[in-house]
Amino acid sequence: MEAVQPNADWQRWWARYGTMSSLGAGILILVLISFASNPNETEAVLSSTLRQSTPLILGALCGLLGERSGVINIGIEGQMLLGAFVGFMTNVWLSSVPEMGDGPRLFLAVLAGVSAGAVLGALLALMSVTLKIDQIIGGTVINILALGITGFFYTVNVQTSGKLQPVPLGPLVDIPLIGPVLFDNPPITYATIALVFLVHYVLFYTRWGLRTRAVGEHPRAADTLGVNVFTVRYVNVIVGGALAGLAGAFLTIEAVGSFERAMTNGRGFLALAVMIFGKYTPLGAWGAALLFGFATAMQSQLQFGGEIDIPHQFIGMLPYLLTIVVLAGFVGRTRVPAADGIPYEKE
């Protein structure tokens, strides 16, 4: 066998982005063909893709910030759930304040959801950074805690005065296909897209990002250079929790408008798969989240379109099947941060 020497630039490019780009190109072609034959349905599927992907990418960004700094976060599910619940309940309470306008009410509700996620983030940081508890157990504690709290305090039949509405971005909406899909969304969806690029910038182009990655790879080296490992980990895990809280707020204040018990429905764990599929990079994770969002959108389209005669249980499997196939086959070598999951002990 000939040794593979990735000398040429395109070979290196292919090795790094090949899978991603060929998947993307394939999907693009499919979308264009579909748009030509059935514009309305295509638009609906793509809008739904973006909606479905939003909580996933927010959850993935949460996981990514933690793991890049060396803390495994499997409590994303719980952080999302509590964020969803607290956001929703805040919306309910403020709805009974008569002089409160829609804007401030929804803003405060989202803020409450984000804060709830951040508080659980701080709890995870306390357990895994300061108390050095096994991080998988710490995350599990958070998931069970969130499930318990929300289940206990949730009361049925509560009313809100509405959820976040789409904000069309002027003439951009009139662009065919792209306009209605990208430029006619509610605020959290816009914010999420901005956050993907923001986290990418922070992680790879700023001092904070360099220190975060150093702490996730070789905390002792960072420590000997005067970087405070504990601070870096705390901040990243708390900010991550806030992002997961935002994902929860998205569910109850922007997407659905109401709360149900355990409504996150595994999205927090799917977000971890998205993060790994995206090779611990924000942009990669975004691509992965869109792919999963697309699969979910296709699933509902196929189920309710009623054109194909397949039992709906099988169609319902689609996103999960995709997870397995993608994780098993396409991901290739993912490099986990070297100090991921290992508590740091000072000498």
């Binding site: 066998m1 000939e2 182009y205 001092r207 360099l210 070789h218 080296a221 070297a338």
Partner: protein, 506 residues
């Protein structure tokens, strides 16, 4: 006032529970000089350096920098005061580039973004000024160890270090890389940097330093200069008794062939041929030394011989029987003993107790196993006996092997491998990183194995070790054996030429 010192440690005392690690230690480093700190493992060198670098605070005593009394509370302070430290285990992030590693913690920024462009320029300038060539954009894990060390030195210089602490810098280097390091050190002192050079290699200390301070059991036992002393003098100061530096051995009595290797070819993970068509044989009662600069196929050869790596072609015959590939247990049961290159990764299970490490090859046979059950009594008894016989310094048989010093960890391995009924011993870098006393001990054990009629292969990057132990020397270069030499007649220079590939036997 006499001349000012770059750094003085006065009357430093540091106690740990049960240990007096530094006992009123005085140490003074003159400006622009290389001051060697010599001592066995556990003599208190590292404690002293950790105090100077702010990792520990002293119970008594003071640190004076440039004639001024100074408090150093943490590494950040130390960096601030112009002290740079190159740790024995590098503090580099393997997946980062050279630039990223150097600027970490002292980043140049433009607005919010990192200014890698300026940083790169500064690093290039530093490299040129101090003769430390390195590509700023290389990923650190792709660089050879010697270059990684330069990155560490650059890291200190980038923070304006005037005092450089090098902790056992040559332990991980090949002889050539060590030579390069010495050139760099001289270059640095010529530019006003003062260097503390921690080592237990006598030759190096004599070759490079201006002054030598020797520590033993937490105390400074003497100060001297290379002109006033020699290896023997330093060794006895260090150990506290006379040490025999040359190995005393009778001529070998080679008997029948125990291992014969023919046409062995091995490829590594990247499918590159790293051992090419190698043939040799080892007889009972002789030591075959395999010399060579690190990375010329010795590691892979040892792995193939010990069943840890598949080989592409060739034949390995042990005791007249062809060995199956990749079956270490078969080899162990047929009389092969192995001292692996990396004792912590491949020689021991560090979190396991010493007692369990001593039965890693034999835990499944009586008396250590009773059917599917462990026989703890026998395992403990075995450990106690070995600890006594091999003088392993451990609090007890149930202490995790990871808690022992390097020399004692190696003794655990030696005790395990040398007390089985073996016919062939493969010792890969058996004394790397060990102090003089331990080296002497391990060497004597190896000679004793030979005299018991066991065939021995010693692979080492240390010329001295090869020259003093081997009865025949095979030199490896680029995966081939380029010479089979007699240590009685060959000179160090000639051996060096073979190792560098500029000479070969046809």
């Amino acid at each position: 006032m006499t001349e000012t010192y770059a750094l003085e440690a006065r009357n430093i005392t540091k106690r740990f529970p049960g240990v007096l690690a530094n006992d009123h230690v005085n140490f003074a480093l003159k400006k622009g000089e290389i001051h060697a700190l010599l001592g066995e493992n556990g003599a208190g060198k590292s404690t002293l350096m950790n105090i100077i670098y702010g990792l520990y605070s002293p119970d008594e005593g003071e640190i004076v920098i440039d004639g001024q009394l100074t408090q150093i509370h943490n590494p950040h302070d130390a960096i601030h005061k112009g002290i740079g430290m190159v740790h024995q285990h590098f503090m580099l992030v393997p997946v980062f580039t050279v630039v990223e590693n150097i600027i970490l913690g002292a980043e140049v920024t433009r607005g919010l973004s990192l200014d890698l462009h300026t940083a790169r320029k500064q690093i290039r300038e530093l490299s040129q000024n101090f003769g430390l060539e390195v590509d700023p954009d290389a990923i650190v894990e792709d660089l050879p160890v010697g270059i990684q060390q330069r990155v560490e030195i650059l890291k200190a210089l980038y923070r304006d270090a005037k005092i450089l602490v090098l902790d056992e810098p040559t332990a991980v280097l090949t002889p050539q890389e060590a030579e390069d390091l010495f050139k760099i050190m001289r270059h640095l002192t010529a530019r006003g940097v003062s260097i503390i050079f921690i080592s237990h290699k006598l030759k190096e200390v004599l070759a490079i330093s201006n002054e030598i301070t020797v520590m033993r059991r937490g105390r400074v036992v003497g100060s001297t200069t290379p002109a006033e002393t020699d290896e023997r003098g330093l060794a006895s100061m260090m150990v506290g008794r006379d040490v025999i530096l040359t190995v005393d051995k009778e001529p070998a009595q080679p008997a029948e062939i125990v291992l014969s290797v023919s046409g062995l070819t091995v490829r590594d993970e990247r499918k590159v041929e790293v051992v090419s068509n190698v043939s040799f044989e080892v007889r009972k009662g002789e030591i075959l030394g395999i010399a060579g600069v690190q990375g010329n196929g010795q590691t892979e050869l040892a792995e193939a011989l010990t069943g840890l790596r598949a080989f592409e072609s060739g034949e390995i015959i042990l005791n007249g029987e062809e060995i199956p590939p990749m079956n270490p247990r078969h080899l162990i049961e047929h009389g092969m003993a192995h001292i692996p290159e990396d004792r912590q990764k491949h020689g021991l299970v560090l979190p396991y107790a010493v007692a369990d490490n001593e039965v890693l090859c034999t835990y499944y046979v009586p008396p250590y196993a009773n059917g599917i059950q462990r026989n703890d009594k026998a395992i403990q008894a075995n450990a106690k006996e070995l600890i006594k016989r091999f003088d392993i310094r451990t609090p007890g048989p149930n202490t995790p092997a990871g808690n022992l010093s390097g020399g004692n960890q190696q003794k655990v391995i030696v005790a395990r491998e040398f007390t089985r009924p073996v016919k062939l011993l493969i010792a890969n870098q058996p004394t790397r990183g060990l102090d003089v006393g331990s080296i002497e001990y391990i060497h004597n054990q190896i000679i004793e194995m030979r005299d018991r009629g066991i065939g021995v292969i010693v692979i080492s990057a240390e010329l001295d070790e090869i020259m003093s132990l081997a009865d025949r020397i095979a030199v490896m270069f680029h995966g081939e054996i380029v010479g089979m030499l007699d240590p009685e007649t060959v000179t160090r220079e000639e051996l060096g030429l073979y190792m560098a590939g500029s000479k070969r036997m046809e």
